[in-house]
Amino acid sequence: MSLLALSNVSVRYGRLTAVRSVTFTMAEGEILFITGPNGAGKSSLLRAIAGVTPPSGGRIDFADHDITGRAPEDIARLGLSMVPEGREVFGSLTIEENLMVGTGMRSAERGWKARAATELEAVYATFPILKDRRHTQAGLLSGGQQQMLVIGRALMTNPRLVAIDEPSLGLAPNITDQVYERLIALRAERKLTLLIVEQSSTRAMIVGGRMMLMRGGEILLDGDARALGQSEAMQAAYFGYGDH
């Protein structure tokens, strides 16, 4: 049984079609990289999955629920946590407040406060720098720290799937290494399913897993990250050589 299933999903902004009839499924625990050049429709696809831009066609299922056109908060509450491009921290809130925003969706359950506190300690254990600066305004953090904060913030919602848009954007390579190191460790710890959008395929080839190549709103290739990354088909598809 797949955790996430898209069938013929399209996204349009006015007359512009950003995503054309995309179909794929993800199994629980899988790691999937979606790569592709600028303007391929990767972010639009993620925004459709998260409910930010409702798809103009097709159907999206997550955890046995039809989430097509559902509100972002409903989708988040089902356990799909989105980390959008550009990190989007709440700059005037402290680190701890940022982390706590997402715990409210469990507030109807008994003992959620104790669980949120445990969760907070777990996130602090993963990202100690956040604990040291817990009462600092998030807007004052460096890019790498903000990236850790938004990943931690997504984890606080206790998700089954985390979708991350360009985690390496604007980060120094060694910081990107750190972020990925944590992500991989988290995946193993929590059996997280990870959907990661990156412009380049380098990171996917280092980490391994499954990779899809998107271009012009369509998925052109889908396969093992390392095998695909070295193939000529990848190069051709990425840059559009041999287009008809």
Binding site: A50, V52, A71, P72, E73, A76, R77, S81, M82, P84, E88, F90, G91, S92, L93, E97, N98, M100, V101, G102, G104, M105, S107, G139, R153, A154, T157
Partner: protein, 304 residues
């Protein structure tokens, strides 16, 4: 000394009204990017809720005879209820439109409320005696300060501290602050858009009702236009405070109150009739030097 104290109290109580009004506008602008021009009419409607509908010159008091501990919650509930209803009936449909469209919708709603009151009560101001015990003066250091002014200032301080505590200490406050900064991100973290927006409207409506109570007691009349002047000044205060910044709105509200009161004192008697022109002149000066407002809010570009 006595007259200086009087000026200070005048400035603070007028500033309190503007600050409460500006807060009501900034709260909604914060979560929805809507400048709610119907706010002034919610103020008027909250006062008229105390009267029985009639077009006679003499007001037929209905809920106005309630003891204060029932009257105040009643009026606050009317303001909050009307404000929440205006969200559910009108503004919800405009959430994905641009801010200009929403603003025009709010003008339209304001006119609907105003003309509804006009139909029920006529345009003649009606004399009411709301909380009459508050109009007696109190002697402080030789100045005679109306008790109502002192209460207005005290109530405003309580509201400001209460709201700050609410926003800083409660789960709902945290969600509101997050939503005000980046609504889409807050929703992706499971924050319910409808709940937060409704909460903002309820708070804003209760603030409008608080203004209604103060104005009603101060002037002793109910007038369908009574909210218009406060609304205009409150709107200006949110602009010079920095749209969406609650602290800025409050600060600018008090600043406007101070400017208006001081102008009243220092302008030559012949020019006093044009006091507002001088106040707006000062507003233009502020905006020339700080177009983003005194305290600019973060994330004003994001909306639902």
């Amino acid at each position: 000394m006595g007259s200086l104290l009087q000026v200070i109290f005048d400035a603070l109580s007028l500033g309190s009204l503007y600050a409460l009004g500006a807060l009501g506008i900034a709260l909604i602008f914060g979560v929805m990017r809507l400048v709610n021009f119907a706010h002034g009419d919610v103020i008027a409607a909250s006062v008229f809720a105390l009267l029985w509908p009639s077009v006679d010159a003499v007001a037929i008091i209905f809920a106005g005879n309630l003891p204060w501990f029932l009257l105040i919650p009643f009026v606050l509930a009317i303001g909050a209820g009307l404000s929440v209803a205006s969200e559910a009936v009108v503004f919800r449909r405009f959430r994905r439109t641009n801010p200009a469209t929403m603003m025009i919708a709010s003008f339209a709603l304001g006119f609907v409320i105003r003309y509804f009151l006009l139909m029920l009560f006529s345009s003649r101001p009606k004399s009411i005696s709301l909380l009459p015990s508050l109009s007696q003066p109190v002697e402080i250091l030789g100045a005679r300060i109306p008790l109502l002014q002192i209460i207005t200032i005290a109530v405003t301080m309580v509201v400001l501290f209460g709201l700050t505590a609410f926003l800083r200490r409660t789960r709902f406050g945290l969600e509101m602050r997050a939503a005000a900064e980046n609504f889409t991100m807050a929703r992706m973290l499971g924050v319910r858009a409808n709940r937060v927006i409704m909460g903002a409207f309820a708070l804003s409506g209760a603030l409008a009702a608080a203004i209604a109570l103060i104005l009603g007691s101060q002037t002793g009349t109910a007038n369908i236009m009574m909210g218009a002047n406060v609304m205009l000044m409150a709107f200006i205060a949110t602009v010079i405070g920095g749209m969406g910044s609650l602290a800025g709105a409050v600060l600018a509200g008090f600043l406007l109150g101070a400017i208006a009161t001081v102008m009243q004192v220092i302008l030559p008697p012949d020019a006093r009739a044009f006091r507002d022109a001088f106040v707006y002149g000062a507003v233009i000066l502020v905006l020339i030097f700080r177009p983003q407002g005194l305290l600019s809010a973060r994330g004003t570009r994001e909306r639902v």
